[in-house]
Symmetry: none
Subunit: 154 residues, 2 copies
DNA sequence: GATTGTTACCCACTACTACCCACAATGTTA
DNA sequence: TAACATTGTGGGTAGTAGTGGGTAACAATC
């Protein structure tokens, strides 16, 4: 059963094999529109995780980055850190992508891996690190979180 | 006799079978508009229950989530916590949906299950837990309840 | 040009899920 | 009251999804 095109929700656990291959949930593959079918951009996430965008979503980010002026110190750094660690990728016939060792190291990935749908992208996590991260966040800024949940009706 | 389209009211009790399958009340199935006939999004509720949205309702949530920027720490967490535990689903020829083991665990579901109409979605409860929850709530915040009466006329 | 290493493709096995059918219980109509 | 339709529940099975390993094709290095 597929959802809207290019929209990712849900959580899936997979194993990262010795070749650095990682399965993409078949539900996510199905929700990719034809043009995207085989192309992703894999990037470093802002938390200790990996972000995987379908090509269409990434192109929007690129457009937004183009609008930032390199005169601003902040903008410059933002562009650099976003573009630097991103790279295009495809999946193989079995639906797996290959993760670069540097990204595996950044996300602290082991054999067991969690893939989370984030609407416009997927996140790849070490499940233990995610749990620690979420617990830590709960203690912090819960007011901002509360405020946000008043705006969005579930 | 059906009510407005995509509106759920009433309470029904069913049994969850060994395969995690749960019947959807036929009244609810009837009240689904054609486009939604076979698609739901099942998500973790804010109380210890499961939320089931018809697709149209969920798409509104999705649209709101799409407006949030992943640069904000708070927004990121909100998207993650909302999208993570949600998954699209259809019902089978007998009108049942399948509940994922992690959600069954979260809601503390046993064989006996209560489905409650919540206007824009349905809630799935362990009847014992709901009763306990409601009793506990009665003692607390009756002020908040009072305040609400200024907004809604019954 | 030979050697090494990496990448991508192919095949095979396992386990699960989604579909199918069957039947009981209840409600409805003639 | 009998016949039928609808609703709720249970279990078997074929097809698909996830995983691992082998090998050919290609690039890089000497």
């Amino acid at each position: 059963m597929t959802l809207s095109k290019n929209t990712f929700i849900g959580e899936f656990s997979y194993t990262l094999d010795s070749k650095g291959r990682l399965n993409i949930p078949s539900k996510f593959r199905q929700s990719l529109s034809k043009d995207n079918k085989e192309t992703f951009v894999i990037a470093r996430g802002l938390d200790q995780c990996i972000w995987v965008y379908p090509l269409i979503e990434w192109k929007q980010i690129e457009n937004n980055l183009r609008k930032l002026s390199s005169i601003s110190n902040t903008h410059r750094r933002f562009i650099r850190n976003t573009a630097r660690y991103a790279s295009p990728s495809t999946y193989d016939k079995q639906g797996r992508i290959i993760l670069h060792p540097s990204l595996i190291k950044y996300a602290g990935l082991d054999k067991e891996v969690l893939i989370i749908g984030m609407i416009n992208k997927m996140e790849i996590w070490n499940p233990d690190l995610l749990e620690k991260f979420e617990n830590k966040q709960d203690e912090l800024n819960s007011e901002a979180y509360e405020e946000l949940s008043n705006k969005i009706i579930l």
